[in-house]
Symmetry: none
Subunit: 190 residues, 4 copies
């Protein structure tokens, strides 16, 4: 009975925090000041902290919508006949997901180190999906059998991270994608 009333307040605060976090993270990257987020949401810092004990909790929540969207995309990609193209599209979708906020690759990478990290399950899910696409491609001879989903996932994450560099302009990214797709020795003799 008691737990009914405060919900309204709490929910309002929570969603306002999320709104502001989305805005600040978009504008200043994932390391935006949480205190500023709290202030612009009109709540105390401790309130933010109660809702989201760690920055990653907040981040995980912010990514929920994107997770859903990515999942939709995944479903669409799965319908493709060409498993090689599907894998490529999936990896591209992953990278565009990683680009949601400046600096996002960092906490995602770190999440893999901590069992309890709220972002970890998300990452593991992605790896699984990558494995599925990869397996299909391998079945069709579109991917080398020695490659693993986690490798492609990490490569995508790493390339997303490196995009921050000046040199990593679109052309660089394009080349990097080419690298993992075809390797640098591939057509060497051709």
């Amino acid at each position: 009975m008691q737990s009914r009333r405060p919900r309204a307040d709490s929910e309002r605060n929570r969603s306002e925090i999320l709104n502001q976090a989305e805005k600040h993270f978009s504008n200043h990257g994932v390391n935006a000041s949480l205190e500023t987020v709290a202030r612009s949401a009109g709540v105390g810092s401790a309130t933010l902290y109660r809702h989201f004990p760690t920055r990653d909790d907040l981040l995980a929540e912010l990514l929920q919508d994107r997770n859903t969207r990515l999942d939709g995309e995944r479903t669409r990609i799965k319908t493709l006949a060409d498993s090689g193209a599907a894998l490529k599209l999936w990896l591209a979708a992953l990278e565009s997901y990683f680009a949601a906020f400046d600096g996002l690759p960092e906490p995602l990478r770190n999440a893999l180190l901590e069992e309890q990290n709220p972002l970890a399950t998300t990452c593991y899910g992605f790896i699984e999906y990558t494995d599925e696409f990869l397996a299909a491609a391998q079945r069709d001879g579109k991917a080398s059998p020695s490659v693993r989903g986690r490798d492609l996932f990490l490569a995508a994450l790493a390339f997303s991270w490196v995009r921050g560099a000046a040199l990593a302009d679109d052309s660089s990214l394009h080349h990097l994608h080419g690298l993992i797709a075809e390797g640098y020795t591939a057509n060497g003799g051709g």
Copy 2:
């Protein structure tokens, strides 16, 4: 014409700062507290500041020794007859350079964004060297002609960065290296 003397005092402090920085950066990564470094070197923070106005200045200095060593290695690798193997070895050397301190890839990546960054020239030098090894390999048909040195450099940097993740154990790194070397589609059909 200026005083040639190395000002023993200054040199002593400078090298003690470097000693301590080396230690702290090794133990706690490149983001170790500079104040702690100064304290353990027995100097005030202002002294550290005078010698190394920014963390990257300090870092650049710390890397000097390693630069020299890497250069030695580069010379040795250059003597190899197999240009493909040479390229591979050079990339491996680069990665082991990037692993000098936890978190080193981050400032190196950022340095590419800032003209004035003391780490930038180092990076550009590495890219040039990579280009040299790559060119040789391409001449010998050991590398695809579409690949550029900067791409391989960035890939190496990115993979060094991702090594921080639990999943990126040696086996993962090994696979990632395989990826850029041969690509995931390379022998897929083979």
Copy 3:
């Protein structure tokens, strides 16, 4: 609607900061080290900073009590029949206010340059009051009609400032007071 509670913690710290600031400013002038103030109040510098972002904010707060006292005195002086004597007493009261801390005239003078300075309104209030006393004296022919409140205020401030000099012993101050006093009464009766 907001939390009415004075947050005992905060109040305690705040008042302890004020206590210590009062002490240190009294002993070492208005430029006493704020860090020392914080330390002797048993709080971190960040806490002091939160309460009083600038030295002038702290100063303004310290002067509040004195403002109140000065206001009481003003009320008493206002009851005097002799408007000339009243003006003289008010100016004396002002000067003794300015002598609260060594170096106080400096920030007060500077405050007049900055709109946002927390000490500015205090000063402007004083000028207004001076105008009131002056107007009365002028009505009674006890002060020259060409004189303005701000002039007397600035003269009082300037003389308080100069008191810091060795030569400005009581006899000097006495003479300086005579200077402006005789000055503004000069044509008063004419």
Copy 4:
């Protein structure tokens, strides 16, 4: 014999320091950074320090030229028949001297506290001169006999100090001058 050679260097340094100090003090007031002065003079900070152990020593040297000029003016003023006008002109000359650098009144005031201060003798000289002008005016009934030179000097200094304030615009200064002027002439004829 030995003391002949180094003079050239020393003198060059000294005069370059003075040049730069003049510039910096003019632009940023008497509290301009001495280190910056030294740097722009192309000498080490210790060299500046050797030539001018304290800021006031440097200041005193910078004021030498102005002292000479002021003395010339004094001589001219002395030729005036009207001793009252002469006193007024002398005080005006003093104030324009005090305005040489932003913040100059402060060290001048402080100099009166310290026997050894290099600015002290200058100040005492000014007081003496003021006394001379004042005595003449008093003899001619143009100034009250109770006023002393030091008082007028301190008043001029104080008003120069207060000019820094926004309120102390030209009109204010004019009024302040009126204050003391009318003040010391008030009973002049009595």
